[in-house]
Symmetry: C2
Subunit: 335 residues, 2 copies
Amino acid sequence: MTLTIKEIAKLAGVSKSTVSRVINDSEHVSDRARKKVKEVIQETGYVPNSLAKNLKRNKTDTIGVVLPKINTSTFSSAVEGISNIMYQKGYNLLLTNTKLNIKDEITYLKLLKEKRVRGIIFFATEITEEHIEVLKKIEIPVIIVGQDSSELLDYPCLIQDDFNAAASIVDYLVNAGHKKIAYIGVKESDVAVGKLRKKAYLKVLAENKLEIKKSYLYQGDFSIQSGYRGMKNILEKAEETPTAVFAVTDRLALGAIKFLKDKGFQVPADISVVGIGNSDISPWVVPEITTINYDHLKTGERAAEILLDCLDGGIHKTKEVMDYQIIERNSVRKI
Amino acid sequence: MTLTIKEIAKLAGVSKSTVSRVINDSEHVSDRARKKVKEVIQETGYVPNSLAKNLKRNKTDTIGVVLPKINTSTFSSAVEGISNIMYQKGYNLLLTNTKLNIKDEITYLKLLKEKRVRGIIFFATEITEEHIEVLKKIEIPVIIVGQDSSELLDYPCLIQDDFNAAASIVDYLVNAGHKKIAYIGVKESDVAVGKLRKKAYLKVLAENKLEIKKSYLYQGDFSIQSGYRGMKNILEKAEETPTAVFAVTDRLALGAIKFLKDKGFQVPADISVVGIGNSDISPWVVPEITTINYDHLKTGERAAEILLDCLDGGIHKTKEVMDYQIIERNSVRKI
DNA sequence: TTTATTTTTGGAACCGTTACCATAATAAAA
DNA sequence: TTTTATTATGGTAACGGTTCCAAAAATAAA
């Protein structure tokens, strides 16, 4: 049977109030009483019930996190970052994993409200009308991460500079002398990864007066496999073999490289490949993948910080853009 | 301002009790009352306070998860597995990330008790006296994952078959004709990964009357980098170059392969490398890494299931061993 | 219609804390 | 010593739900 404050009070020969004061390190407790109470707590192993406490105080120290998928390095690193900051500030994390299921997101948002979490970190892939509706009346501080919500919602958002990052790396290919650049991407309803990165690709090609061939374009999902298939597809369709491939994630790039090697192509001698995301394995494969580095851990940390500011009544609406760097390795040949 | 059940009652012209019955789908509510209450809830967007509910009911639907690190595929996959099962059963996950800091584990265990979580899934790396003490008096169902606690604690535990798995893959090397097999491992205080896998390596070598050279043994940490350094170290020290390397994780194997390639060795033509863990990238690098597959997602799911059984008053103490398979790819040369 | 039975309701106690207020004890000042 | 200020303490009312019980209303049986 779990002990309550009342029983501790009785054992220590004081009132509930005094025990409560000791637990919360309040003043106005005599040394004698404090010592006695601490002894009893130690002996009995009493642990206060935070449900009661939070109910009374009308707030919790829990932060809700809504994630589309947990077992990818992007998100798990971000969660690591969030937990770094939040635990240090005395908050803990209630995790919800939507498995890329939009409908679940709505459910989980409601669940977090039930739990009266102090704030919510929402990793968005898409923002639908329904999201907007639910988020608008949630009455809990929220920060949106990963998609630009600044025109839709009055919450702060934190995004990667997807457009410029993608433009930079495609630019890098062009500057290396490549003119036939293929594209392996994902569905455009994912604005950040699918739409913006593709848009940047198209823009850079157009700016440099390079032809945009339909056969150079492949749209898959987020799996490594999809990169493999994408590369296969492009090579089969294209009448002219591209000299470079822009994959919108490192995992897609890895899949593409694998296909090329399987078919006897040299990377980068025959075909260059770049990705985005700087996955932790990218420096360790051959060739080491040239990519864009986003610091997901830092993104998580920053998201946590912004949310904390909101809780302190600071920031209300901002749009913050995380920076990026090109990581030049050796999956690109200079022509 | 957040609404309470009282206000909903007033708006619907009924008592708190009736509103409560409607929320919980109890019987004994007239259709008229039920309809009215539902309307008001819909209009106002009322969401009940689960703190109050759980306090009264004296139980929560939250499962605590204690993790040593979240951003590695082992753990994030396991969490994915846990969440698959738990959400389906109406539980949610409170995540604590100890960042391999043993002291934090104790703190978090107490925190979870404060939160009155329904059960705890504890991913152990080491089990110290202090762990045992805290776990013994926690009064919450716990399942230990990853380390064999069956002789120390009265909780169920779920482990990988580390010894046999490692023995199998070293056996595989021996059967392929290798006689000079190096070892890249981690600290032995990690019983499962550090101690058992090394023990298996030593045993298989001994059984086959192969010499165990000190220069063939390297102990690092869990980073890819460590595999790289380990390989370097072994090659520098050993008077005779090994023909095969057993790395205790795929990440270590990846690092080792990278070093070999950097130095102009062919893998597997010159030196074979195997790992354990079947990381998601292992099939996609060149050479594809021969390894042992543990299904971490399934491990997470199974851990969740066992815990659920405990909650239902079923299982109390078991020791369950997850199985494994050798995944034969092409990082090993048959001599 | 009256009585018995069932269904629907509201009232109140309770879950384990905190926080306010009044009182008691102690220390300081007169 | 008495008065005043200060500190320590206990009692009690919340917090927002659930749940039991008794009363009221509706329905069925006599």
